[in-house]
């Protein structure tokens, strides 16, 4: 089984996690830039963080046979701190990098006017840099925040198919399904979404534009939740090909719009022994690393 975790904050995880993830089938990840618990107070600390997401962290992941990519952006919480606003000025430099596969995480935290401005400005940057956007939905007042998010996306230059709206639940999935955006679900031990509810949502909405992630970070979270969803899908009667679609081909298709994925050779379910494929990742400039460490 091959797994692509499209949202995981590896900076906060240990090398043991990388080993367990590889053993569970994870071969590729996307690490969105976000807040770190402790608020930052200057552009310099953002630059060091972005540099780590494009330097040290991919190196660390490669030692465990996992391809690491990043999304870069100014998160909504810190968008409210005037000292962090200048981050917008350095973003173009980072959005030009090889392994940056989207702008993000963007969106709303407290739905302030500052968050409106920073969100819209970064959707414009995504269009300019021909990148998709990863959008976080707020923890508080979630349905209203999701509706407002979709309004801002509609007013932007991005097609709905270039936007992934994340951290959805039973209350917010319908409006995003209607919008044409991709639907992201973060499967957590206690909060957000769990694997059984996830499978029920897949049963009701189908597998199209569905993205499942662990969103593991410095809080109570589990980097193997993608694997648990795969097992729960199989137990519920889904085929290995269905699992491959949700946990590999869908995220590859979404982030592949960047043309910047660098994926290891992997084996699709049902492929003959030794038949390694990249599930369409060769399209539009994405590359496959032949003979990459397995």
């Amino acid at each position: 089984m091959r797994i692509f975790d499209p949202h995981i904050h590896m900076t906060s995880r240990t090398t043991d996690d990388y080993q367990r993830m590889h053993a569970a089938g994870v071969r590729a990840v996307v690490e969105p830039s976000f807040w770190l618990g402790q608020p930052r107070t200057s552009v310099g600390s953002f630059c060091d963080y972005f540099d780590a997401l494009l330097g040290w962290e991919p190196f660390r992941a490669s030692q465990y046979g996992i391809a690491h990519h990043a999304t870069i952006g100014l998160n909504p919480k810190e968008a409210n701190d005037a000292r962090c606003r200048e981050v917008l000025d350095v973003l173009p430099r980072y959005l030009a990098k090889d392994r940056v596969v989207a702008v993000g995480e963007l969106g709303y935290d407290s739905m302030t006017p500052e968050e409106d401005d920073v969100f819209a400005a970064q959707l414009a940057l995504a269009a300019e840099h021909e990148l998709p956007a990863l959008v976080h939905t707020p923890h508080r007042d979630k349905l209203a925040g999701t509706r407002r998010t979709l309004d801002v996306v509609r007013e932007s230059a991005l097609e709905p198919g270039a936007v992934l709206v994340d951290h959805l639940n039973e209350m917010t999935v319908d409006v995003v399904a209607e919008s044409g955006c991709w639907m992201g679900f973060s499967v957590y031990p206690d909060t957000k979404m769990d694997e059984h509810r996830m499978v029920e949502i897949l049963r009701r909405h189908g597998l199209d534009r569905m993205i499942v992630n662990s969103a593991a970070d410095w809080g109570n979270s589990d980097p193997l939740k993608t694997r648990r969803v795969a097992e729960t899908m199989l137990a519920a009667g889904y085929t290995p090909d269905d699992v491959d679609r949700v946990l590999w081909r869908n995220p590859v298709e979404f982030y592949g719009q960047s043309g910047r994925l660098e994926l290891p050779e992997t084996q699709a379910p049902g492929a003959s022994e030794g038949e390694l494929v990249a599930a369409g990742a060769t399209f539009m400039g994405n590359s496959v690393l032949r003979g990459a460490r397995e």
Binding site: G55, A96, R99, L131
Partner: protein, 192 residues
């Protein structure tokens, strides 16, 4: 979302030669452009750095900025290009003025950067203390010593002492002494 009208390597080189600041835009994209053209990304990035016109002091300022703003692959490409920027047939070779970049890379724990920093440029310019520490770091981090340029010429008694101590520490802990440690010792003794 692939570039609708992509820049070619030839266009990028011409732009950098006439307006060096455009390297900030061309250098990050150079490996993707090269891949589309079936070329090597590191070579394409070296060509961009060599295209920056002007005296060595100006060129090194640009090289340092490109390195500081680079991701790991860009930084590695800058390190690999240093010998070419210092080639004697250049109008104004950079000499030892890019050593701060080499020292920065040697402070990292990214083996790709450490290995790239220990090419012919470091062999020619890096001081003995820093160079010996770097060779020891190569042994520690498992980088093949054959990737260290000029090892046979620069391995000396002091490096041999450091490597002997390292081997003794490994043996005292019941650990295997890597064969590369023996290689360095053999080269150091041959140099006597």
């Amino acid at each position: 979302m692939t570039p609708t009208n992509p820049t070619t390597s030839t266009d990028a080189l011409a732009e950098v030669a006439s307006d060096p600041d455009t390297i900030d835009r061309h250098f990050p994209a150079a490996a993707r452009t090269a891949a589309r053209e079936g070329r090597d990304g590191d070579a394409a990035r070296e060509a961009l750095l060599l295209a920056v016109p002007g005296p060595a002091a100006y060129v090194v300022d640009v090289v340092r900025r490109v390195y500081d703003h680079g991701d790991a692959a860009e930084r590695r490409a800058v390190l690999l290009a240093l010998p070419a920027l210092d080639a004697p047939d250049r109008p104004d070779p950079i000499g030892d003025t890019a050593l701060p970049i080499v020292r920065d890379a040697l402070r990292t724990n990214d083996t790709r950067l450490v290995a790239a920093a220990l090419g012919p440029y470091a062999a020619a310019h890096l001081d003995d203390d820093a160079w010996r520490q770097a060779v020891l770091k190569v042994l520690f981090t498992g980088i093949p010593v054959e990737q260290v340029a000029g090892l046979a010429d620069r391995a000396d008694d002091e490096l041999a002492r450091m490597v002997r101590d390292y081997a003794a520490e490994r043996e005292a802990a019941g650990r295997v002494v890597p064969p590369d440690a023996r290689t360095v010792l053999a080269l150091a003794h041959r140099a006597d």
